[in-house]
Symmetry: C2
Subunit: 518 residues, 2 copies
């Protein structure tokens, strides 16, 4: 979710870890990795510092550690690379590295030990899940100051993450106007435009002059608005009339009125639009901000591109996990409990197992054909179908997610995949039969090895073609029935193809080997 408070506006160098300032050359490599033993060292360090301060009773004060700051060279224009590292100070980067391995207590201690400004920036940049957990962990006296660091859209995410039980506890921490804003945002689903937007955008009236608009924006700049660089022109009913960039206002004749400077053809999204669609519109129009309107065209808020990065990552993660054959995890890997893991993975594994039980049933039908000589090639043949199906479904799912392939393109995809499936089947069929013929020639498969080779080749062609088509079409079918195409996972396709692969294989075997081996 939009975990970023004031993203367009925030100075670029907030939350700069001391370590980077001291050793700028370090950032020219890869991100440093921290072995687990280092993490426990950091945790121990955090505890030690926290204890010497005598505040280990769970309170989390925002300390302004001015002395620590100046020691680490922050006042000079360019930090000297030769200055020795300050061992006392925990840097935001060290905390970030150790974060996944720390428990809640250590995390809140870590925040307390950081210089105040760094701690605030660090907290603001955290995921809503982490923010919610920390807020609930803090003593009630401390909660308010941390909560107030967050923008309304981020507060809404935190409240959503914390769950119904803590809703009023958290909302009570806010001042009345913010609480009203947050409550309005909470009416939206987390994954729609309304749940993503910020309500703090810059507003202008159409009949202001450019000059008036600039000084009006200058005043607004002191409030916490998301960006002053794009201002939205609305009428008294909040109907969106146009948009004007600060740059254009700045370049315009000061006496010109806003209505003459603004652009009126504004790409806008509905407050109920799905976030995946919003991200596609951003990409198609190359936007950095987009206004959100309700169904009457009234301005509700803005979504900025940096929130879209999170959306894109989140959707990609969800799709990847579904494609891997499980439910989306929704939290970082190391942050989810083993119990949740077993539940989210076990459910699909059980469904797949039940599906796979049909292979035993199918094989039962071919009792007469299930001779050891044919059983030898069973895994080889059915897996070729599963593998080609996995390729086809990943291609189609991803192309759908990017908007490259739409529901109506199924026929186009089918035609392509028939041709490709046949070509791939022929390729693999030849390879597989070569394997059989070589071993067969060496005497491994008895007198009829050529016929067995033909059986294997024909079965592989059939399985690959079928697997390719099943993999390519399953996402369309799922979508048609309102399910997420990403559920056409590699394991699901493999399971489908295993059962049909068995039928293909033994039917072919019956045709070719009947009267010879069978």
């Amino acid at each position: 979710m939009s975990s970023d408070g004031d993203p367009v506006e925030r100075p670029v160098d907030e939350a700069v870890p001391e370590a980077i300032a001291e050793r700028p050359s370090e950032l020219t490599g890869e991100i440093s990795t921290l072995p687990p033993e280092e993490a426990s060292k950091v945790a121990a360090e955090i505890r030690a510092v926290a204890e010497t301060r005598g505040e280990a009773e769970g309170s989390v004060e925002l300390l302004d550690l001015g002395s620590l700051r100046s020691k680490s060279g922050k006042t000079g224009p360019i930090p000297l690379a030769t200055e020795p590292a300050d061992d006392d100070a925990l840097s935001a980067d060290e905390l970030r590295d150790a974060w996944p391995l720390l428990d809640l207590e250590e995390r809140s201690d870590g925040l307390r030990v950081l210089p105040r400004e760094d701690a605030e920036d660090y907290f603001i940049a955290l995921a809503a899940t982490d923010q919610a957990a920390l807020l609930l962990h803090f003593r009630s006296g401390q909660r308010r100051q941390w909560m107030r660091l967050l923008e309304p859209d981020d507060v809404a995410d935190v409240v959503q993450e914390a769950g119904e039980a803590h809703r009023s506890t958290l909302l009570d921490l806010l001042d009345a106007p913010t609480r009203k804003e947050v409550t309005a945002l909470l009416a939206y689903e987390e994954d729609e435009a309304g749940g993503l937007m910020s309500t703090r955008y810059a507003r202008l009236r159409p009949n202001m002059t450019a000059d008036e608009a600039i000084s009006y924006l200058r005043r607004q700049a002191r409030d916490k608005i998301e960006t002053i660089y794009y201002a939205y022109v609305v009428d008294p009913d909040q109907l969106l009339l146009g948009v004007v960039s600060f740059r254009d206002l700045f370049a315009a004749d000061p006496k010109k009125i806003v209505a003459d400077v603004m652009e009126t053809d504004v790409v806008r999204v509905s407050d109920e639009m799905d976030q995946e669609t919003v991200s596609r519109i951003f990409a198609e129009h190359d936007l950095t901000v987009i206004p959100v309107v309700d169904k009457d065209g009234k301005m509700k808020g803005i979504v900025t591109v940096d929130d879209i990065v999170d959306v894109v990552q989140e959707e990609a993660t969800e799709d990847a996990q579904k494609f891997g054959g499980m439910e989306a995890l929704d939290v970082p890997y190391l942050a989810s409990s083993r119990r949740t893991m077993v539940r989210k993975r076990g459910r699909w594994l059980t469904i797949l197992l039940i599906g796979e039980m049909l292979t035993a049933t199918a094989l039962g039908f071919f009792e007469d054909e299930l001779i050891p000589l044919l059983a030898l090639f069973l895994p080889l043949i059915i897996s070729s179908g599963g593998n080609s199906g996995s390729q086809a479904s990943t291609l189609v799912i991803r192309a759908m997610a990017l908007g490259e392939v739409r529901a109506a393109d199924w026929w186009l995809v089918l035609r392509r995949e028939i041709a490709i499936g046949l070509a791939l089947g022929a390729l693999l069929g030849v390879f597989a039969s070569i394997r059989v013929l070589i071993w067969g020639y060496a005497g491994a498969y008895g007198a009829h090895y050529v016929l067995i080779g033909m059986t294997v080749a024909a079965s592989v062609i059939g399985c690959v073609l079928w697997g390719t088509l099943a993999g390519a079409m399953l996402p369309f079918v799922l979508r048609r029935f309102g399910a997420d195409p990403a559920n056409a996972s590699a394991p699901l396709v493999a399971t489908l193809v295993d059962v049909s692969g068995i039928i293909i294989y033994f039917t072919v075997a019956k045709l070719i080997l009947s009267g010879v081996l069978l």
Copy 2:
């Protein structure tokens, strides 16, 4: 790649399709889908309009179709929803919908038929591949004006896409200073920070006053710089001293000097840093712009967050395709030729097939145990391992891509996955043996069905545990050897686990059923 010219600065409503302006309510739904027959209608329409203009000889003039524009209500402040659609005018949205299905000729006709401004915006927002193809398709006389629409970083992408053979043809279209800039950018790999950055950033000197800085930026705003909203303070050697936001300058005392307003702790990236790492730094620090420096700390350019959206999408697509068991496609699904598809998919399928041939070899070792009664459950058992392996590897790959799990965390992951693998194995083992016991009780598997049920249960537990561990550890192993962890694909894990699953199954069978059935 960074397909966006002037992203932070471009007015939000560029490339606004007329259709949206006319029917704003339409955008409150999902993106419209276009059936293939509609696409050919659009193509026919494009051809018809292009021909009536008598310019069908392949020239692509940028026509300013002012008359079409005003007809479709673009001059009024709010377009009327009731105004009839202009049948003559092709909208950018219609073109976008039909785009994947159009050939090069139809695409360039489509651009020619669009109103000039829309056509330019449309062209700028296209992917570099498409831009390159179109530029080379245009008559040489037309190329220059299209080429000059693009920013240096986008030109560099286009030149890279067009390939070595067309490099000088395209570079010759540029004016000398731009050519120099582009050539410098071309020295970088496409997927490193230097290949992503824009060189057109706002520069300030530390001893300017805030007032001077603002008017200096105002002048720079007229040039094509990426953003005036963040300005970078450099010394005469281009050493990066700090960053200042326009908002801060604006709010500051006009007589204050820039050095006193700027922030000196700037998060920066090296010009050779991998783009995936850059995107992680953006996310960690919640940034919208990041400066790129060389190894001496000299300022080279900036990367903006909207380029990061593309990077994130691209990396997610690459990972998904690798995880699906194929090489990354690098172009949209429908844009890749069948030949490329067969090559990129066939190579991995062949490797997997060769791996899978080991199953036949493994089964050969168990000739005595490969009785039909046991062969029945073979697909069921080995697939349970493949499925759980696929889950584990997708989780670890994705967590690595998001930076949630680092190389050093392998031990942590291993411990978790042992516990989870055992739990999942037990769950599936129970289900599988129930299936065997029910059918066995009904007489399907002879007298020793209880022993067979035990064999199946123990084998499933073994396969699931082993599959989970193999899937979770393979990404670490690949990474250790410098390969992309995403190559630990569902099919690869399944293949690995198939071979070992056979060994597990028949070894267990030997132990339990020896002297009874074997």
